[in-house]
Each structure stands twice: as C-alpha cells, then as structure tokens.
Symmetry: C2
Amino acid sequence: MTTITSVSTADVRFPTSASLDGSDAMNPDPDYSAAYVVLRTDAPDGHEGHAFAFTIGRGNDVQTAAIRMLEDHLVGREAEPLLDDMGEAWRLLVHDSQLRWLGPEKGIMHMAIGAVLNALWDLKAKRAGLPLWQLLSRMHPERIADLVDHRYLTDALTREEALDILRRAEPGRAAREQALLADGYPAYATSPGWLGYSDATLARLCREALDAGFPQIKLKVGADLEDDIRRLRIAREICGEGFPLAIDANQRWDVATAVEWVRALAPYDPAWVEEPTSPDDVLGHAAIARAIAPVPVATGEHLHNRVMVKQFLQAGAVQVLQIDATRVGGVNENIAHLLLAAKFGVPVCPHAGGVGLCEAVQHLAMFDYVAVSGTTEGRMIEYVDHLHEHFVTPAVVREGRYLAPTAPGAGTEMRAASLAAHRRPAPTGAPA
Amino acid sequence: MTTITSVSTADVRFPTSASLDGSDAMNPDPDYSAAYVVLRTDAPDGHEGHAFAFTIGRGNDVQTAAIRMLEDHLVGREAEPLLDDMGEAWRLLVHDSQLRWLGPEKGIMHMAIGAVLNALWDLKAKRAGLPLWQLLSRMHPERIADLVDHRYLTDALTREEALDILRRAEPGRAAREQALLADGYPAYATSPGWLGYSDATLARLCREALDAGFPQIKLKVGADLEDDIRRLRIAREICGEGFPLAIDANQRWDVATAVEWVRALAPYDPAWVEEPTSPDDVLGHAAIARAIAPVPVATGEHLHNRVMVKQFLQAGAVQVLQIDATRVGGVNENIAHLLLAAKFGVPVCPHAGGVGLCEAVQHLAMFDYVAVSGTTEGRMIEYVDHLHEHFVTPAVVREGRYLAPTAPGAGTEMRAASLAAHRRPAPTGAPA
C-alpha cells in the first residue's frame, strides 16, 4: 500500500489573446489557461498524476482554489483502493454533501473534481505502463460499467444496457487496437476559422489544412451574418463542393435567430452547426435541430454533466456529441457520455484545442473506438495546432489523423520548464 | 457622481450540523454559511451594499474567492450609472468573456455574480430609502423589463410579453402595497420536518407550527420509504385531513424511483413533491409530473439560471416554482423567473431557510404580488425559524405570515457582531 502525500496546484496561463488565436463570437480574447494539479504518493516508483481544468483566463485562480478544496479528501489516504476502484474515487469527490451545494455537478466545483479524477487516471495509467486509451480499452466490461455513476441515468440507460454495449464491442477490441496503432484516428482542423483572422489569413490557413490532409475544417460564425457569408464563401471556394465545412456559433443565438442564420448559411452546405444557443437549452436545441434538418446540430463542450448529455440525446437535440475532457467529472463521466451516445446511435466528435485538450481527449475517442462504439465512421477529433510543445507527450497529427499515443499516462503532463515559465506566483500565504 | 471604493468579502459560517437543523436526504450535515460581500462608495451618505451567496459549508472560501474576482469590474467605477441601470450591471458581470467559461451562468461563478448584483440592489434600495420590494414595485414596467437579460428567453417570453404582464399589474399596485403592509404574505414551515429529527421532535414541531398559524408544513423524505411513511402518518394525524403537507426529496431519486415512491406516499395526500430528481433534469421532471399528477412537482432552489427555469415551464416539469435568492444572477435574474412563471401561470413559492434566505427572498415574493402576478393565491414563502438574529432587519413571521419589511435595503445586511463572531480569519496574504 502507498499513501497519497500531496495534491499541489498551479495557476498556468498562456497569453493567447495577443494573437487572436481562439477568438470566436462569444470569446473574443481568450488567454488559454490551466488550473493544474499534481498528485504525489510515497510509492518508490515516483510516478505522479498530472491533470488540469482548462479555462480561458480570468478565474483560473478560483478554479485552482476549488481543486485545493479536494485535498483533504485525498492526502493521507491509501492510493490503491482508489486507483483500483475509480468509481469509488468519483463517489468520494462528487458526493461530498457540502461541496455539492456549489453545483451540484456543474461549474467550477465539478471541473475541479474532474481535474483531480483525471490526475488519478494519469497516475493509474503510468503505474500500468499504458497510455490511458489502452488501459481503458482492456478493462472488463463490468469494471468499465462500475466507473459510471448511474444515478439519474436509468430512464435512458441502465447499467445492463451499458454492459450490453460494452460486451458487443469486446470481440473486436484487439483488432481495433492494432488498427489505431497503425492508422491513428481522424482529426479535423479549427485553426483556419477563428473569427479574429483576416480573410487572407483564413484563405491561407484553409489551403494549408487541405494540404495537410484534414478531412474537415471548421469556421467560427455568429458575430455578423454578412461576414459569415463572405468567410464561408471563401472557405467553400478553396475547399470545393462536398468538402465538409462545419460552422460554430459558440452560443451566440436565440432559437429563432439560430434557425434564420443557419438557413442563410445553408447554401454553403455546412457539415454541422455547433453551439447555436445556450448550452443549457435542451428544448431550444431540439427545436433548432428540427427546423434546420438535415443540417446536424453539434454540441457538448459546455454540457456540464451526464444529466445534460442524457437529455440532449433523449430530445434529439444533438446529432454530433462533442465531449470535453475537462468540463465534466473526469474520465468517469465521459465514459457515461460515450455509453449514452452509443445507446442513442449518435457519433462522438470530441471538442479539443485550448491548451492540452487535444492531448487529453484523444484517449477518450480512441477508447470509444476500441471498446464502446467500435467505429470511427462519422467521427473525428477536433485539432488546433498550438501549445502542444508544452506537453511531455504532445498530441501528434499526421495527414489529418491523430497518431495513437504509446507513452504511459493520460497525456496531461506539462513539461516542467513550461510550468515554471507560465505559472503565476501563488499569492503570499497560499499553499504552494 | 460617487465612486465604488471597495468590494470586501467575508467567509461566514454557522455550525448548524451539530444540531441536525437542515438535514435532508442529500445534505446530512450542513453548516449554513455565507460568502459575504460589502460594497462601499465614497458617497457622503455612508450607505453600504451588503449581500451574500448562501452555501452549506465546505467551499464557502472558494465562493468568497469567486466574488473577489469581480472586484476589478467595480472598484474605481462610478456608482450611479450602474445603480441607475442595473441591467448594465448584469451585463458587465455576466458577459465577462473569460469568466463566462467557468459556467456559463451556473455554479460558483454565477452565484458570485448574484451576490455582487444583490449588494448593488441593497445599496440602491438604501439610497432610495425603501425596502427592496417597494423600490422594485414602484419601477416603470419598461425599466423592470430592462433589468432582464432576454437572451435565450425569446422562444418562451419576449420583451413585449414581459411588458404586457407588468402593465396588466400596474393599476392595482398601490392597493396591493397597502394590503401587504397591513396583512403580510403567507409563509409555510419547514422546521418540523428535517430528516435528522426524532419522531417525538417531529410531532412536537408539527403541533407548534399549527399553533403558530402556518397554512402548510413540509417534511423531508427520500432516505428510507418506511421511515417516510411513518413520519408522514405522524404529521398527517397531527395536522388533520386536508391540511397541506408538502414533501421534499432533495434530488434523491431517479425518475422511476420517484414515481414509485411518491405513489407509495400518495395516501397521505402530499401538497407537492419537491426536488424529486436531479435539478438539471427537465425531461425527467416532466415525466415524473405526468406520472404522479395530480400531485404537483415543486422545484427551483437549484435551477441555476433563467434558461433552466424557462425549460421547466415549457415542458410542464414544474407546477410550483421555488426561486432562490442567491443561486442565480441576483435580483435581475429572479425577475426573469417571476415573469416566466407569470407567463406560464405557475405560482412561485420561494425557497428559504438556510441563513439569510428568508430575509432576502421575501422581497422578491412581495414584488411578484404587487407588480407581476398580482396575487398570493397558491403562493407562500418557505420559513425556517433560525439564524434570523444575525441580521440587522430580520424577517418577521406572525401567525403564519411574513410581515412586509419597511426598513430601507434588501434585508441582506448581517449584524456587525455576528459577522465578527462567525467570520473565518482570511488566509495570510489574501485581501481582507
């Protein structure tokens, strides 16, 4: 037995707003940031669990403080009972009856729980000597189902139904692992389409994305319809008829505006429309989806927990589910999302970009392929080509595909030099 | 013109878990707490704006830190442009493009915004020399509609529809103000029904609540069905046939369990069932409501913003809306909730208790009566008789009715001695 000896945090920020990387209709000037956590034990192997909650700047210190609230649940506790039963780790953190009031299961507190759970997953994978996707893909279906909190899900997905999905995928696991290691997983490119870029930059980046082999490009829309039409026309001309061009409104519209705006852009054949309105609006997304069909609605990066994902699927409000690695209660809750999506036959195309989101979420998509949905049909992981150099095992995309990571861990460990260069000094008197 | 000179915070906690006051199926040991904020200006009148976010213990320091994040938006700014246009104050705080990522509009960050907005409202009412309910009730309908962020609401309630509701209520305002000052507003009692109390305590407190003239009593349920049946039978015997006895499950059940459990308790004629499942589950509540009709579903204290309230009303998922004074984006967003409820013809029975929630929310219910719904029919405010002594102008209930507050302000100012006695020392180096 080994003991968890520390949960330390760092407020890490990158000044991305200076270049308008990441600019969209609701987030004009993000500074990509990480509320970073390192979990240490007294095990002689020296392995550490590294993870983070992604934020876009202000408030990253509050997010970091929320992670520190969880320290008392972990420090001094034996590591193995948690690492061996990560469902128990979820319950320990999510079911804190007092912290629960601050959500429940949403916002800063839930993202903090997700970061700590993901640090435990990173540690577990390092101890196993496997990349997270492979560790998860080799687990017994019963043990995978144990990771999920089935509370509030049973009207849409019972534990038995989850097990059925996992068992059906079991026979092909080994072959799909090999396929991933050989060919990787499809990616799509968002880098060309930030709203803050000039038309010339947009055109150049579209060409570069095509040349790099990406099977889809995404453009930000929603600030000004005339601009959107012009930009979409430029992209369509460069990419050609039939090439998948997705659009992303980042929650900008009300229901009626979303319908009108998407209809105005429909001549440019959008592959999907992403986040047309408030991420809380199940019924609104369902109404939009009905009105703009066959254009699919994509959403998920702001769906704050499995209860929201359940409802979006039940209501037909989402046709492409975009899970996010650090918005929800860690790997555990994202497995619930993958199982729900499989139950409803909806493809999962993870949200990424930011800082470290590509590194983290690729493991979940690859696990989905090997052990849940069993397919990459209609599926791809978002890719944005920046800030990867800060990670020990950066995500690698070649010819429009993520290479399957082979290094042990969850991919979420930042380089020590990057941490040192980009962490804000802790306020005097705060724990280091 | 005067300038906002400081936004100071305090982490205030009361050790209520020692007595099992406030114990329910999901919150076995709450320590009622307030992330407290005081807003000061350089105005010679010396008025301060006091407000808080209510929490139940652990994490109250993170909640307080989130409030401090908003300091930069306010300190050094002229007070009057905000106080004269509180819709602008909302936009300033809610539309911070970076902080938005931490919600959006939910959890710790949104509760922090609510606390700061409510402190501005307290200051505004003190400057006007009016209790908040009266200040709001005398505003022009157009100015009330300006307080609401109509974004994401227009598929259910347009600004014009909101104005129609407010204009229809205008002629009777003066008479209803007088009625309130003469007769107060109905209250109901939750104190008898905490889950941690013995049967004897339950019985004694039910008798006391009846004797005190309360028109309704509420019992916590959801931990054990046999216990619930026994406790409800005791309460029913004491209160008699036909007396309204509500039950509150505090999010304990899945959809199917909620339906079964409520059916098992139906012989005891519950006046409503409160929070049967996850507060995020619009579709789940709608399914429960259909299955247990005519027993009404009540919820709201954890509905994190107006988009959730909108959907609960659209889906028929709530028959009694329980607004909460400190869960959402302050007075502004609660006005949106009152207008939505009026549009859908659903009565509002505010959540209270905790510490300071009675003091705060009574103003919203009274404003609803005077200037929105125009009625107290089927409406009452929750009342729990503890911790009132810590407030400068405590809520007063006589013969089962809240007396209309007459002191200027929002009722949310704690006594200096209580603050001094119950605030946690700030961590070294943190701003005071």
